[in-house]
């Protein structure tokens, strides 16, 4: 293929020679190439052998705001000014190389970051268009990691592994926990998807990361559902209190607060839960699905912590807003049961592994230890985003009993 520009015969200043090329086969490219080098009012001679060249050229010039100065050979185009007018108010949508802009102009719409944007066109109705309210410097790296770590539920889990050896009561506990996990992961899917829909696409890496987060949760919903149904029985129960707890997450309108409640506190707490389930998994499928989900959730937590810390570093007063959000959620859930009692009992039974009283005692203690680890993790993350230790302890204690 000849390289562009290696055709001096076809182009010299002030002349566009189309040879036998018609304007119905792309001939306008050669004409525009010639016109590009002229100022409005400049003249371009067009030569060529296409039989309809003059007819085509008259129509083309009219449509594109140029004047055809002669209908006979040589055909001469007088360049119009509309091309320049079209781009007169254009501006770059930030810088492709640099960091995203502090404020994304709604008029940039869906344009790629760094693109030259023609003025006009519909503004994008994005709620989140300020960098401080959505950004974390680690977002590009987390997105790259997320893209590299996508797994296929069909092959990443050995669905043929035997679960026959799992005692029926333990299997029922697994099914109950899976039922609970699906409900929580559905909330965790909807929240980033909703934030994504309100985010200015100028913050591309955050948009991409939220998209992978939603895709992660879609897989989690799939594998937990599949494990829950693997033994052929019905799924477990869904408690009103658990759903009430999740509803408070869905109702949070602010980007950072939603990210904080979901990822820092909820998914952060879930990291310990998934580790616990992996450790006490009675079968390889349960071990696989919890391990895979854990890996994804760790990225979600990392972004939530990094973003919240990014905002509170520039606006320490925001810590007060976050504190209020925890207190508000606690107050809203005060009169609900919180965690489904059947989920709690299932966790005890899973850790116990049998109905033997001594085993139950061990299981009970394991779940108490889990709650302590969850609390410790929350306090650590709250401290990382700027809360003093005492306040972190206080807020951690107010976290929903439903874990998420």
């Amino acid at each position: 293929m000849p390289s562009a520009g290696a055709d001096p015969a076809a182009f010299r200043a002030g002349v566009a020679d189309l040879a036998d090329l018609g304007l119905d086969e792309g001939g306008h490219l050669l004409i525009e190439r010639g016109l590009d080098r002229l100022a409005p009012g400049g003249r371009l001679a067009v030569t060529g052998r296409h039989p309809a060249l003059a007819v085509h050229l008259a129509a083309w010039c009219r449509a594109y705001g140029h004047r055809l100065d002669s209908a006979e050979s040589p055909l001469v185009i007088v360049k119009g000014s509309t091309g320049r007018q079209r781009w007169s108010g254009a501006e770059r949508a930030g810088s492709a190389a640099g960091p995203p802009a502090a404020r994304a102009d709604p008029r940039w719409g869906l344009a790629a970051r760094g693109a030259l944007v023609e003025a006009g066109g519909p503004p994008i109705g994005a709620h989140w268009s300020e960098r401080e309210h959505v950004w974390a410097d680690i977002a590009p790296k987390l997105y790259a990691a997320a893209a590299a770590a996508q797994w296929d539920p069909a092959t990443a889990v050995d669905w043929t592994a035997a679960i026959d050896a799992v005692p029926p009561a333990i299997e029922r506990a697994v099914v109950q926990v899976m039922t609970y996990l699906v409900e929580n992961e559905q909330a965790a899917l909807i929240i980033p998807a909703r934030l994504l829909a309100q985010l200015h696409p100028h913050y591309r890496e955050v948009m991409q990361l939220l998209a992978t987060q939603a895709a992660d949760e879609a897989r989690h919903v799939e594998v937990f559902t599949r494990r829950g149904l693997l033994s052929g029985g019905p799924l477990g129960t869904s408690s009103a209190g658990g759903r009430a707890s999740l509803a408070t997450l869905l109702n949070e309108p602010d980007f950072t607060t939603a990210s904080f409640l979901l990822s820092v506190l909820g998914e952060g707490t879930f990291l310990d839960l998934l580790r616990f389930l992996h450790a006490h998994a009675p079968d390889p499928v349960t071990a696989d699905v919890t391990r895979l989900a854990l890996r994804d959730e760790a990225r979600h937590v990392a972004f939530g912590v990094a973003h919240t810390a990014h905002l509170t570093a520039s606006d320490p007063a925001y810590l007060g807003m976050l504190r209020q959000s925890v207190e508000r959620r606690h107050a809203a859930l005060q009169d609900t049961a919180g965690l489904n009692a059947e989920v709690f009992d299932s966790l005890v039974l899973l850790a116990a592994g049998s109905w033997h009283p001594a085993a139950i005692r061990r299981g009970w203690q394991s779940v108490r230890d889990l709650a302590a680890r969850m609390d410790e993790g929350r306090r650590r993350r709250l401290a990382a985003i700027g809360f003093p230790d005492d306040e972190a302890a206080e807020l951690s204690a107010l976290h929903t009993r439903n874990f998420m």
Partner: protein
């Protein structure tokens, strides 16, 4: 009632976008009390213009011809306001297949020529007039296969032209035509779309240049100092001697000035101008309609008084 009421023909859904957008701009940026109504066809729009039910009409060239005839017959004035840059110096072409033995218009004798809709100036009336100019009477010396799509829209709907172009290459010989009539811009468009394969057609003949749409003010906005054409006896008052409300007139004048002042660099207007197919509005000229006047007479499309006399024309 003051202000300007414009009539436009809804030949495409985009007409609503265009005139809604212009309406907002004329009212908000221009401070003009402007509104518009849409018509399903040009004939009713022209009648309403001449009857004074609307102040201005966005007229096709054929609508201008009829409006002029009706106004002359009634002794009421019309005032051309403006036209688009893209309305000036159009040509229609008669094309044949590249390998056709036909090399001159006269060779089309006893052959089949495809045209657009009955009321298309560019794809029917003007090219058939071109045939007459070489002594071929359509329907007698040449067979005409008309593609009546969007009748009443004066060819604004290009479906008829597209079907005429396709008929050059119809698979069934019984459906195939020897020549097709198109406007120059659609020759290019259909070539780029692939409806006419590259190199597959030859331009047999083309009309002299003519002009297309024109914005016309009717008698409701008349004054003695009306524009370049104001009726058969120069500037005419309306039949009852009423020269109209002076505020209306200044509104029409302001409307024309606002259109002429529309700037393609204005990002709020540019999408509308792109949709309407222009880069700038220009002062009107009436020199480009003689060809069509002649074609209308030859075809017996309208009578001298503007009555519709075309056979089988049901807009």
């Amino acid at each position: 009632m003051g202000g300007v009421l414009l009539g436009a023909v809804a030949y495409d859904p985009k007409v609503v976008t265009i005139w809604d957008g212009f309406r907002s701009w004329l009212r908000d940026s221009g401070g003009l009390d402007f509104d518009y109504v849409l018509y399903s066809n040009y004939e009713r729009q022209v009648s309403d213009l001449v009857d004074g039910r609307i102040d201005v009409a966005w007229n096709s060239p054929l609508a201008w011809v009829r409006a002029r005839r009706l106004a002359t017959a009634r002794g009421v004035p019309l005032t051309p306001i403006t036209m688009r840059d893209t309305d000036c110096d159009l040509r229609s072409v008669v094309v044949v297949r590249a390998d056709s033995p036909v090399t001159a218009l006269a060779d089309l004798a006893d052959r089949v020529v495809a045209t657009g809709a009955v009321d298309s100036p560019q794809a029917t009336l003007l090219p058939l007039s071109l045939l007459r100019s070489v002594g071929l009477t359509p329907g007698t010396d040449v067979r005409v296969r008309r593609f009546d799509i969007g009748v009443g829209l004066h060819g604004d709907h290009i479906g008829g032209e597209r079907e005429a172009a396709r008929a050059l290459f119809a698979a069934d010989p019984a459906d195939r035509v020897d020549a097709a009539c198109l406007i120059d811009s659609n020759l290019l468009l259909f070539g780029r779309e692939g409806v006419l394969p590259a190199g597959a057609v030859r331009v047999l003949a083309q009309t002299p240049p003519y002009d297309h749409c024109t914005m016309t003010a009717g008698p409701s906005a008349s004054v003695s100092s009306a524009g370049p054409w104001a009726g058969p006896d120069d500037a005419l008052p309306s039949a009852n001697g009423d020269v109209g409300d002076i505020s209306d007139t200044s509104d029409i004048s302001r409307f024309g000035d606002l259109l002429l002042g529309m700037d393609y660099a204005d990002a709020s207007l540019r999408p509308l101008l792109d949709l309407e197919g222009l880069k700038e509005w220009r002062p009107p000229r009436l020199s480009g309609y003689e060809q069509l006047e002649r074609a209308v007479d030859e075809a017996g499309f309208y009578a001298a008084d503007g009555a519709i006399t075309a056979d089988g024309y049901r807009p």
